[in-house]
Amino acid sequence: MPAVTETIDAVQSVTEGPYKYGFETDIEMEFAPKGLSEDIVRFISAKKNEPAWLLEWRLKAYAIWLKMEEPVWAAVDYPKIDYQASYYYAAPVKKAGPKSLDEVDPELLRTYAKLGIPLKEQAILAGVEGAGDTPAEGGRMPIAVDAVFDSVSVATTFRARLEKEGIIFCPISEAVQNHPELVKQYLGSVVPQGDNFFAALNSAVFTDGSFVYIPKGVRCPMELSTYFRINAKSTGQFERTLIIADAGSHVSYLEGCTAPMRDENQLHAAVVELVAHDDATIKYSTVQNWYPGDENGKGGIYNFVTKRGACRGARSKISWTQVETGSAITWKYPSCILLGEDSVGEFYSVAITNNYQQADTGTKMFHIGPRTRSTIVSKGISAGHGQNTYRGLVKISPKAVGARNFTQCDSLLIGDQCGAHTVPYIENRCMTAKVEHEATTSRIAEDQLFYCRQRGLTQEDAVGLIVNGFCREVLKELPMEFAVEAQKLLQISLEGSVG
């Protein structure tokens, strides 16, 4: 039986073409008026029934944003964005909670099926009450999912199970209502409203996203995951994720995203904030698969994201792993502020640009506390007309005695129309710190290809194999399920780039 299913899946994935998440769900939606103004900010806040302090916070962000200029320093090139041509709020019209799968809007249901979310979870995703408590089949490690559809979170699974441990995992809009003290304390404490142009925009108009709080000493019993889906036309997605790991806790969080294939470019400007207290560990993994645009560079998502984690406590650890295969343009630098003594920051990244995709991505490691350590491993792959830039900063303050950083950036070029760029910044003000950086750029070696071809692999399979080997150091950091998906994605992303 499983073999049959796999075969069907395999055939489908072939016939559906390179980007299989490019469909659009036709569902009744509620929009805010097009464009951006103070009124829209007030509209979103009112829609979410937010307390006054949050509205004030948003309005302050909007005022800051108005005075800011869009950054131009990244090695990406795109026409000027008209911020008034977009909808800042779009949500599926919510009917009274359906009691069984039959009552759920079949369109939403079909969407989740197509996105490959398992049936049991699917029942929960569509908002069926009670299904969340059904134990997962076959003893397989369950994954709790928060599904964000355009501007709102449509469902969060396994909440009852998590609540038993004292873990809060819910949409941020709900956290604002139920845990205002936590949200107020941490929101904007890592990425302030005025941090950068896109973070300010997000702070003004963010609609939903996930909120996670892991209490002291708790090891989260399952992977937490958020699934982002842009569906509606002319919308921007501005989600905000906030994860707090209290002293001695541990959490692994996954993020996935897809969007329909369209000729227009849609903006995705998210903010993710992580806070790790003493001895806490946060592992944050992303498989970014927004629609990359067609082979002529038409359409695709502008992925302008601010992600930052603060290692506030001693011996805390934040680890970012990202596989960036989608988006027309990626502008993203998941960072770590290493404040606590002996705290650890990690960044593992694979970024692929094919066709006309552009990616300017990397990390920033701020070493502030003594004996802080960081590791950066970045693998960039450029094919077609893709442009791939690693941009990273390692900054060591005078107090970071004995700090240590190791950075490795490798670039692989496939074809002579693409570009690979490396821009590391090292700023060291501490004598006892040790910083090492190395970078290489090369193409796939002829002898490696020849070796694979000789053993009967097709050119495309051989390239896929070599690319997977090139990315291995990063892929092994991903949780199991994601690693498998990521490997397939790498192959799909490179389709048409060889031969």
């Binding site: 320093w73 005078p398 670039s411 070029l413 496939i414 074809g415 002579d416 129309q417 693409c418 570009g419 690979a420 760029h421 490396t422 821009v423 590391p424 910044y425 090292i426 700023e427 060291n428 003000r429 501490c430 004598m431 006892t432 710190a433 040790k434 910083v435 090492e436 950086h437 190395e438 970078a439 290489t440 750029t441 090369s442 193409r443």
Partner: protein, 424 residues
């Protein structure tokens, strides 16, 4: 006394307007056009600010706040020169050519401008480089070396001495060098400061290397403690040509050397090595832009920085591999040694690659002396202080050892040893 000179870009522009009909080349339309273009560029840009990516780590506030005047040097003064580092020598005193102290194949550019037509300004860029524009606008003299095809020019020292006192002065020398096909030259460019006062030394060197030419170019900056040294080198290498350079920053309050090197023909080669030795209160910046614009070229770069006291070192190195530059072989290494807990190093090695069949790598390391190496020496009975100095000298020696030419290596070795004595 300072008050009579206006500070900031306006001061320099006023000076240009005032000097306009006294500057060399005033009767040669091509020179006037070059100066006008530069003046327009400088007028629109002013001094570079830290908001510019290329100036992120070097602040020119010191320059902007000072009003500079013209260096007033009696031309016939007897002058005790330091020992020469090469058999031939050309001497500039406060930016003025001293025929009586010079011998060899270099001529005064100011006196031979016509001979530089078509060459001067052919490599330098002024539109986006305000300091090169400032130089082009105000240069009065410099060395002109034009070697015919196949000639071996031997080794020549280009010595520039600036005397400083109470009154800040400024000098903008322009050196133009062309090596015909297959010609060879060893050039040791040395900047020396006399006196403790503030001054600006803003040289621009334009270099044209024709097919198969070979230039060894050492730049030794030993400015006085009040000196501001801002230099820009432009070099174009044709097929098979080699530009082998070494930069040494030892003196000056604030120094920045910018090199724009372009490998324009197949199998051209560039070495952009260097060392910065910075003590308390000094700021040193080594910035290079290397263009691989033709296939089968190779480049090597190793830059070492040693920082003592409250000093700041900057390294920015960009390698740009154009789409045509297939089979490029590029290597870049940048190492810094921090000897004090008040020192700062900012390093930005950068690769921009548009060709696929390339082999490019870079590395950077920053740290203090290796504890294990120190322990090894201490265990063999060597005192702490001696062990430290041995390791630092070894670190520096490694940089100097990369230089092939013996004359240059000796000159660099002397300068490094001199610095080391002041620190130890």
């Amino acid at each position: 006394m300072n008050a009579q000179f206006e500070a900031g870009p306006e001061g320099f522009l006023r000076r240009y307007e005032g000097l306009n009909n006294r500057l060399p080349g005033i009767r040669q339309p091509w020179v006037v056009a070059l100066r006008e273009q530069a003046a327009n560029a400088f007028r629109s840009k002013g001094f570079p600010s830290r908001k510019l990516e290329a100036w992120r780590y070097t602040d020119l506030a010191l320059l902007a706040q000072t009003g500079f005047g013209e260096a007033l040097t009696p031309v016939d003064e007897d002058f005790a020169l330091p020992e020469a580092t090469a058999p031939q020598r050309v001497v500039f005193l406060d930016g003025r050519f001293r025929a009586d102290l010079s011998d060899g194949l270099a001529r005064s550019l100011g006196a031979n401008l016509s001979a530089a037509e078509g060459l001067l300004g052919s490599v330098a860029r002024v539109d986006d480089l305000p300091l090169a524009a400032l130089n082009t606008m105000l240069f009065e003299d410099g060395a002109l070396i034009d070697l015919p095809a196949g000639a071996d020019g031997g080794a020549i020292e280009l010595l520039s001495i600036i005397q400083s006192g109470d009154r800040p002065v400024t000098v903008h020398p322009r050196h133009v060098i062309r090596l015909g096909a297959g010609a060879r030259l060893v050039l040791i460019e040395r900047a020396l400061g006399r006196g403790e006062g503030r001054y600006l030394h803003n040289p621009v060197v334009e270099i044209v290397l024709e097919e198969g030419a070979h230039l060894t170019h050492a730049r030794i900056q030993q400015e006085g403690p009040g000196g501001i040294f801002l230099s820009t080198v432009f070099a174009n290498a044709a097929a098979g040509a080699t530009y082998d350079s070494f930069l040494l920053h030892v003196g000056a309050k604030l120094s920045r050397s910018e090199a724009h090197v372009s490998l324009n023909g197949p199998k051209a080669m560039a070495h952009l090595n260097g060392a910065q030795l910075l003590a308390d209160g000094q700021h040193g910046d080594c910035t290079t832009f290397l263009d691989h614009a033709a296939p089968d070229c190779a480049s090597r770069q190793t830059v070492k920085t040693v920082l003592a006291g409250r000093s700041r070192g900057v390294f920015q190195g960009k390698i740009h591999v154009h789409q045509v530059a297939q089979r490029t072989d590029g290597y870049q290494m940048n190492q810094a040694l921090l000897l004090s807990d008040q020192a700062e190093i900012d390093s930005k090695p950068q690769l921009e690659i548009y060709a696929d069949d390339v082999k490019c790598s870079h590395g950077a390391t920053v740290g203090e002396l290796d504890e294990n190496q120190l322990f090894y020496l201490r265990a063999r009975g060597i005192p702490q202080a001696t062990a430290r100095s041995m390791l630092i000298e070894a670190f520096l020696q490694e940089a100097v050892d990369s230089v092939e030419d013996e004359t240059v290596r000796a000159a660099l070795g002397t300068a490094v040893a001199g610095w080391w004595e002041t620190i130890a």
